[in-house]
């Protein structure tokens, strides 16, 4: 299944994966990112029960050095 991850197409392993699975695939510590799904922010406690659908727009954001 294909979603838009950080603006680029991304092929998920299974169909309708959970956000937590995606983070796991990508080896991203869930506590280190903020997640936006189709322009809405998803709270960390919903990562494990939020299913992704075809063409969903998923954004994984975190802090970086800046002035």
């Amino acid at each position: 299944m294909t979603i838009h991850l950080n603006g680029k197409p991304y092929q998920t392993v299974g169909s309708e994966p959970k956000i937590s699975q995606i983070l796991n695939e990508l080896q991203i510590d869930p506590t280190s990112v903020v997640v936006e799904l189709n322009s809405g922010i998803i709270a960390p406690d919903r990562f494990s029960d939020t299913l992704l659908k075809q063409d969903d727009r998923l954004e994984l954001i975190r802090f970086v050095g800046g002035g």
Binding site: V34, I41, E59, L60, R62, F63, G65, G67
Partner: protein
């Protein structure tokens, strides 16, 4: 003691975290500077370096984090970034940046005012980055900015406080702390800002791209203290007329009369 919103700060130097060569150098520089306020930016996760996380290396007890909205070109984008920042940081602190022109990276006064008003209503502690515009500073305070951050000169130019006359008016009229941001390229610039009566300064690239960032951070920390101390100690006026530091000579006579 500097107080913004309800938080007090022991240091009047705010440090940006951009462009450091390594996390280690950045941490050392922070410590050397004495800062208690750190700015960070938001970006998409680099999927090729999923472990690369600045927050994992910073001491969240020691520093107040001030997320910025860099990259936002209008109030809408800035507000969206603010929401992400709050979700990511768990705090309402926000350095608001709205810079439509990637070439000059100068802030948009009207969009900054709109975003400040909205975000204050949402409970953010908003520190807007702004052109050194005294009327805009008053308007931003009217809508609840916790501090104002006028620029000294365009970001990254190291040209110091080219906006001195406007910053002086902003300070004179301020009801909230004034933090001089952008263009501060040398400790003497930071000291000058404090001597003018600014409440704090934000420095980033002048430290992070120095040959020795840790030493430079220490230098800025000292300069900020020096400038603030001088401001409180009451500096002398500039004059156009010379006056001797040694006792003035009196009327001239024979011999050593010139000494008197």
């Amino acid at each position: 003691m500097l107080k913004i919103s309800d938080t007090t700060f022991g240091s009047r130097l705010f440090l940006g975290t951009g462009k450091f060569s390594s996390a280690g150098v950045m941490k050392e520089a922070m410590e050397a500077s004495g800062t208690e306020m750190i700015t960070v930016a938001l970006r998409r996760v680099d999927l090729d370096n999923p472990e690369d996380d600045i927050m994992s290396v910073l001491d969240r007890q020691r520093y107040t984090f001030l997320p910025n909205t860099s990259g936002a070109r209008d109030s809408k984008e800035a507000i969206r970034l603010a929401h992400l920042a709050r979700a990511a940081s768990g705090t309402p602190w926000l350095k608001l940046e709205v810079t439509p022109d990637p070439r000059t990276l100068l802030p948009d006064p009207a969009e900054t005012l709109i975003a400040t008003e909205q975000l204050v209503k949402e409970g953010f502690i908003v520190l807007p980055y702004m052109n050194a515009d005294p009327v805009l500073a008053l308007r931003l305070q009217d809508v609840g900015a916790a501090a104002v951050m006028p620029l000294g000169s365009p970001i990254g130019t190291n040209q110091g406080i080219l906006t001195a006359f406007q910053v002086e008016i902003i300070i004179e009229q301020a009801r909230v702390p004034v933090v001089v941001d952008a263009g501060i390229g040398a400790p003497s610039h930071a000291a000058l800002a404090m001597e003018m009566g600014a409440d704090a300064v934000l420095v980033n690239t002048a430290i992070s791209i120095a040959k020795d960032p840790v030493a430079m951070a220490r230098a800025f920390g000292q300069a900020v203290e020096a400038g603030r101390t001088a401001f409180e100690a009451g500096m002398g006026r500039r004059t156009s007329q010379a006056s001797a530091s040694s006792p003035e000579s009196g009327k001239l006579e024979n011999d050593l009369g010139f000494l008197n």
